[in-house]
């Protein structure tokens, strides 16, 4: 069908777009928004092909470079004609803007959690950040520090060239550069606190869209960036004239509006499995899927003294692994289209995922007998009583109840503790004291990598390594030195096949310790309104690409 330009794309969400600034922590769904208003050196194309979806492509860079110097040096040429829509008129995006973007990551006002990826990767980044942390969190002082400071490992020999020096080889560095946090920052933003109301009001875009109006909590309206030129943007076609991201729409209402044509796309609303089944029954073709590498698992608390430390016993943890009916979880998520039973730590679509089953059960339905036997063997013939908080949101209560039911069969009595969504991670789970004090024994958790594709690091490092300071998402200080050593090799090798093998090895080593019970690997189902054409999934946004759809009303 013929592409059409024009029209206003209505994107419906429950919550509003949480960040306009790429630096502070943002939810994953904001990726779609950043796609429309920011550009990075490297990005992905919107595509239906699962391989193309996760292939790094040049965006601000003229091409994807090959590293030199044993994989330690990356040199980028910036695309010419890409301009900031600056107040003083159009202005080319320069290498200094790129470095400034990195500098802002560890500002002391609202630092970016992603900064930690670069701290021991880019030469001098850690020093820069250590200095920044001592600076007063005020506009003036922060501006001065950035203007005077320098990150050693980011060199800007000329306006159109930027060179990264790494401390050690990292075969996923290119992927890291697709993160919105690596977006360039124009000099003007230093006059505002990160993501402050002033920042939002004076937003400067280099991408096809810019912010026309913003009513907090209810709507952001994006319009064409007047200085953006299609020929300088290989990834975004920008067919629609305006995009409205409307907040405050409940899931039901949003689905109804999509079906009735009053809305076009969903922002932060997952398509409920039931709706998908219904739509399929009706033969609706506006459904598509996207594997983002998200997974669900149960974390096991091995640091508390609950039940006399029973969960420290590997046999008990194995019993848990045998007990779970993963097929039931899959069913709860809406069947095989939405979820696949997962036996390792790496989900589908992530390097390292492979088919293996250390704790096999028939049809993945759990083996209560075996679990009971193991439990008895571990010295708990009468079973165990375990506390399992769960996040009181969406499908999580249902899943928690499914888990409860299957554990019950194996002799585990599960006390469910509903926890408000806002508290679940922020207050309960990431607070290591709660683990120590035995506030929870098991917790259903989920993880999605920060970037698609070669993101094994973004799964392994934060969750399964412990270097003496509590990792926020390594809930019970799990560590396996041997596995970490293998992982380090997997990261530095330039041979992709070798890397994959090594990661698979890491997976098997970790799962043998059973720090978690892997549950399922998730597939995102996407849906859109009747007027939307050319709906192509954009992997880093986990949704259809706003900048490549056109409307047919």
């Amino acid at each position: 069908q013929e592409a059409k330009t024009g029209g206003t794309l209505r994107v419906l969400g429950t919550a509003e777009v949480d960040r306009f600034d790429t630096v502070p922590p943002a939810t994953a769904v904001t990726g779609s928004f950043f796609r429309a208003v920011t550009r990075q050196l490297i990005s992905f194309a919107a595509s239906e092909d699962p391989h193309e979806q996760i292939a790094p492509q040049a965006d601000l860079a003229e091409s994807v470079p090959t590293p030199t110097n044993d994989g330690l040096t990356y040199t980028f040429k910036l695309r010419q004609g890409v301009d900031w829509n600056a107040p003083g008129g159009a202005r080319q995006v320069t290498s200094a803007d790129i470095e400034r973007g990195f500098m802002r990551l560890c500002n002391p006002f609202l630092p970016s959690p992603s900064a930690s990826y670069f701290e021991d990767m880019i030469v001098g980044f850690a020093d820069f950040c250590a200095g920044f942390a001592k600076v007063d969190a005020k506009v003036d002082t922060m501006k001065a520090y950035i203007e005077q400071g320098d990150i050693k490992g980011i060199e800007t020999p000329s306006d159109d060239t930027v060179v990264f020096q790494l401390t050690r080889a990292a075969n996923d560095f290119i992927y890291l550069l697709t993160l919105p946090v690596t977006s360039p920052a124009p000099v003007e933003v230093l006059d505002y606190l990160p993501d402050s109301p002033e920042y939002r009001q004076n937003f400067i875009s280099a991408a096809p869209y810019t912010i026309e109006s913003y009513v907090p909590d209810s709507m952001v309206r994006l319009v064409r960036n007047p200085v953006w030129k299609a020929e300088n943007d290989p990834l975004r076609k920008a067919y629609v004239d305006a995009i409205e991201v409307v907040a405050g729409v409940q899931a039901d209402a949003a689905m109804q509006q999509l079906q009735s044509g009053d809305g076009d796309m969903l922002f932060d609303i997952p398509v409920p499995p039931v709706t998908v089944q219904m739509l399929k029954m009706q033969g609706d073709e506006k459904l598509s899927t996207l594997a983002e590498g998200a997974s669900k698992m149960i974390w096991i608390n091995t640091v508390s003294n609950n039940n006399d430390g029973a969960l420290r016993n590997p046999k008990v943890r194995q019993a848990l692994n045998y007990a779970i009916d993963k097929a039931a979880v899959v069913q709860q998520y809406g069947g095989p289209e939405f979820a696949t039973p997962l036996n390792g730590i790496f989900p589908l679509g992530i390097l390292g995922n492979h088919d293996f089953s250390p704790y096999p059960t028939p049809n993945n339905q759990g083996d209560p007998e075996k679990a009971r036997a193991l439990l008895a063997e571990a010295g708990y013939p009468d079973g165990l009583t375990l506390k399992m908080p769960f996040r009181n949101l969406g499908i999580d209560p249902a899943v928690a109840q499914v888990l409860q039911a299957s554990l019950q069969k194996a002799g585990f009595t599960i006390e469910l503790v509903p926890t408000p969504a806002s508290d679940f991670y922020a207050r309960l789970i990431t607070n290591f004291d709660n683990a120590l004090n035995g506030v929870w024994d098991l917790v259903p958790s989920g993880w999605s990598p920060d970037w698609p594709g070669g993101a094994a690091r973004s799964i392994y490092q934060p969750q399964y390594t412990y270097d003496g300071t509590h990792g926020t998402f390594n809930f019970s200080d799990y560590n396996n030195d041997a596995a970490s050593e293998v992982a380090a090799r997997a990261l530095t090798t330039t041979d992709l096949a070798e890397s994959e093998k090594l990661w698979q090895q890491v997976d098997e080593m970790v799962v043998a310790d059973a720090p978690t019970v892997p549950l399922v690997s998730l597939t995102t189902v996407l849906y859109h309104g009747t007027a939307v054409e050319n709906f192509l999934p954009f992997a880093a946004g986990g949704n259809g690409d706003w900048t490549n759809v056109w409307l047919n009303r």
Partner: protein, 312 residues
């Protein structure tokens, strides 16, 4: 000289009026049935062979997780986890009734006590208590409930506590107003002139005269408490799963759009909720007409800021 006056006793009259009110009678029967349903929940579970938390993943769910509709095995269909809606409805009745009744009773107890003390003593006691009631009534109920649950986590006792905290003022106001006029009645002066103490007057003289408003308002508070609990559950702040409550069942149905497919998940709990609150309301009206035929509306007069903290 001593001819007895031809008059029926008030109890007799009340019963006669109550029994002649068809709607009231039907409501009463419905409530009794409901109580039987709730009490007999275990029996129902045993009879159907489905406990309220059993998940029949093979017989009650399709491979893709869709629940089956009403059939011979599952009279009211199954829910999104493959549990029997009929059985859950019975157990949910327990929660709803228990919360409704317990909360109303507690609220009535507090309201009566405060209203009685405030109205009887008057003066600064009344000023302080009256202002306290004003304060409670200036608190945006549902907002505070949301915040409280966010802070303390959802639980049945918290729900009850909050419902009680925000609904006793209704009773307090009404009782206070009644006591204000009762304490001016001459029988109170008479009791005083006999040497009765305050407590004795409050308990033996004033309290018995409050039975009618107490019965009526307590009955009327039951449905609003039930709805309040349902609203809390609907907002995800109700009781802890997998225990069933009607509001929770409705919320489950609504939250994942499942009701668009599985209408029975909304219809049955919704109907149960509607019929229950309706019955209590009709019963309350009937009781009011029967107990207090003439001055039935006096309780609502003047500064009686009635209205339960109807969240909905």
């Amino acid at each position: 000289m001593n001819q007895p006056v031809q008059q029926r006793s008030s109890f007799d009259l009340t019963m006669r009026r109550l029994l002649s009110d068809k709607a009231g009678l039907i409501s009463l029967c419905f409530i009794l049935l409901l109580v039987a349903f709730a009490v007999g929940a275990d029996g129902i579970a045993a009879w159907t062979g489905h406990s309220p938390i059993d998940q029949f993943r093979d017989t009650a769910l399709t491979p893709t997780g869709l629940p089956v509709g009403p059939n011979a095995d599952f009279f009211f269909g199954a829910d999104q986890l493959g549990r029997d809606v009929f059985v859950r409805l019975a157990y949910g009745a327990r929660i709803s009734l228990a919360i409704g009744v317990v909360a109303s009773l507690l609220a009535a107890l507090i309201g009566v006590t405060v209203g009685l003390v405030s109205g009887y003593f008057g003066g600064w006691v009344d000023v302080v208590l009256g202002r306290f009631m004003d304060l409670v009534m200036s608190i945006p109920v549902l907002l505070c409930m949301l915040s409280l649950v966010a802070v303390f986590g959802p639980s049945v006792p918290l729900s009850v506590a909050v419902i009680v905290f925000f609904s006793w003022t209704t009773m307090g106001r009404v009782i206070r107003g009644q006591v204000l006029s009762l304490r001016e009645r001459e029988f109170v002066v008479a009791a005083r002139s006999l040497g009765a103490g305050h407590l004795s007057i409050m308990v033996t003289d004033i309290l018995p005269n409050l039975t009618v408003p107490i019965i009526i308002y307590t009955t009327m508070m039951v449905p609003s408490s039930i709805i309040f609990e349902a609203t809390l559950s609907f907002l995800g702040l109700g009781i802890v799963p997998p225990a069933p409550s009607w509001g929770g069942m409705l919320a489950d149905a609504a939250n994942n759009s499942i009701y668009m497919f599985a209408w029975w998940l909304v219809l049955f709990p919704g109907l149960a909720l509607l019929l229950t609150t309706l019955s209590f309301n009709i019963l309350g009206d009937a009781l009011r007409d029967a107990l207090d035929p003439n001055s039935s509306r006096r309780a609502l007069r003047k500064r009686s800021k009635q209205k339960a903290p109807a969240a909905s």
